[in-house]
């Protein structure tokens, strides 16, 4: 796979782009894409040839709302055993994070995947709540685990979201001019290319599903530039070694069986129709929100303010870049994060910090 890092080929693509004399703005929605762009120094290279790329709402941790974090903390405080992906634990709710709750002595455990949480529920008698965060890449694994009917002391706090409705929201809000979308390779591994087609058909936006090596992204950009030049708008697949037009049908089937769509809020966005997932009727018994309704009652109807001065919302909508936030690398750093985009390894603020001079100086 290292061929996908070939320097000579990369230079050739950049040269081709230069010859096209571009002035375009693109958006991708994937923390792993952002990491490749920043780590390999592609962003300045591309800017130099007239390609501005922004990270949209592509980090499941970042778009999780303060309310969802507060729900997790409330359940920890009510004595449940909380199991969660490592990235989530430091994300601030209103006043504190799950990590703070753990320090206070509540039972919060990091797991690598949902099966670890199910195994834990098998071993202990306490209620085990899994905080389900993730896009279509992650959701099928949760769906499989739930479909196997885990032990009765297991439940899911679903914060799962799906990508296409968020893209639709971004396009319809029209805050950023978008000449093309780079679709996330691993989300697309599951859903395939078809769920994006309406954006090309109805909104005339060129799209490409790209992989995560430098050449994948550069070629993806080239394919978009080509579509634009030729006046086309369709969904190209660059990441053919993993993404099929139909996606992964087994994964889609189990997701459809276990989850139903729901209208949910995303951090930085208003409620986006059908962009969230709740457990379907057949699996209601595993829904932590129903099982622990009483513990969560006081959070209902409450307003949750964003951290003061944090511009994650605009970062997530692609309106500004991380470096345009006045708090970036000043009061907001990975050791003292103010917003979720600085906490999550896939947040654009933390990625920029990690590879910038700020991190080296430490």
């Amino acid at each position: 796979m290292f061929r996908f890092r070939d320097k000579e080929m990369a230079d050739k693509i950049v040269q081709k782009l230069r010859e096209m004399d571009l002035q375009i703005t693109l958006m991708h929605v994937c923390g792993t894409h952002q990491d490749t762009l920043v780590r390999h120094g592609l962003q300045p290279l591309l800017e130099d040839v007239g390609v501005d790329i922004r990270q949209g709402p592509g980090c499941p941790v970042c778009v999780t709302t303060a309310k969802e974090i507060e729900e997790s903390i409330a359940l920890a405080k009510a004595g449940k055993t909380i199991t969660v992906f490592g990235d989530m634990i430091k994300v601030p709710g209103v006043e504190e994070s799950l990590s703070d709750a753990k320090t206070e002595g509540h039972d919060v455990r990091i797991v690598y995947g949902v099966n670890d949480a199910v195994d834990l529920a098998d071993k202990i008698s306490n209620e085990v709540v899994f905080i389900g965060v993730g896009f279509e890449t992650t959701t099928p694994s949760i769906a499989v685990a739930v479909s196997r009917r885990p032990p009765k002391n297991f439940s899911l706090l679903s914060c799962h979201r799906v990508i296409p409705p968020a893209l639709k929201a971004i396009v319809e809000m029209g805050e950023v001019r978008l000449d093309g979308l780079i679709e996330p390779g691993h989300v697309s591994t599951i859903i395939g290319s078809r769920p994006y087609e309406f954006l090309s058909e109805e909104h005339g936006i060129p799209q490409v599903i790209a992989g995560f090596e430098p050449l994948d992204l550069l070629m993806g950009v080239y394919m978009l530039a080509k579509q634009k030049e030729e006046g086309n708008a369709r969904v190209d697949i660059e990441y053919r070694r993993v993404v099929k037009p139909e996606g992964n049908p087994t994964a889609i089937k189990v997701m459809d069986e276990v989850f139903d769509p729901a209208d949910v809020k995303w951090r930085g966005f208003p409620t986006i129709p059908a962009s969230g997932l709740v457990l379907s009727d057949a699996y209601q018994e595993y829904d932590a929100r129903q099982r622990f309704e009483d513990d969560l009652a006081e959070l209902e109807g409450k307003e949750f303010k964003e951290p003061k001065g944090c511009r994650c919302g605009e970062v997530l909508r692609g309106v500004i870049r991380s470096e345009e936030c006045p708090l970036f690398a000043k009061t907001c750093t990975p050791t003292n994060p103010i917003g979720p985009c600085m906490v999550s390894a896939e947040g654009s603020c933390s990625i920029l910090y990690k590879y910038s001079k700020h991190a080296e100086a430490k």
Binding site: K12, V61, F85, G113, D116, G134, T137, T189
Partner: protein, 73 residues
């Protein structure tokens, strides 16, 4: 959190496969794929989410070469 990385399937028993991430062995759930021993799978959060198509990988690189009009391959 949502990194997905390729690993080689060494052994499969039911839904669980032993895979090799460049020297590190791990067990992953392969129920979402029909992976067989010897193939590479893309692994995310303890689950294989797709089989990596090596033939397509070669074709993609060949296509890049063609587009770029060189023979760097």
């Amino acid at each position: 959190m949502c990194l997905a990385i390729p690993a080689k399937v060494l052994e499969i028993s039911g839904d669980v496969a032993t895979v090799d991430f460049g020297g590190i062995k791990k067990e992953v759930d392969v129920s979402l794929t029909d992976a067989v021993v010897g193939q590479y799978v893309i692994v995310h959060a303890g689950f294989a989410i797709q089989v990596l198509d090596e033939e397509e990988a070669r074709e993609t690189l060949a296509l890049f070469d063609q587009i770029l009009g060189g023979n760097v391959a």
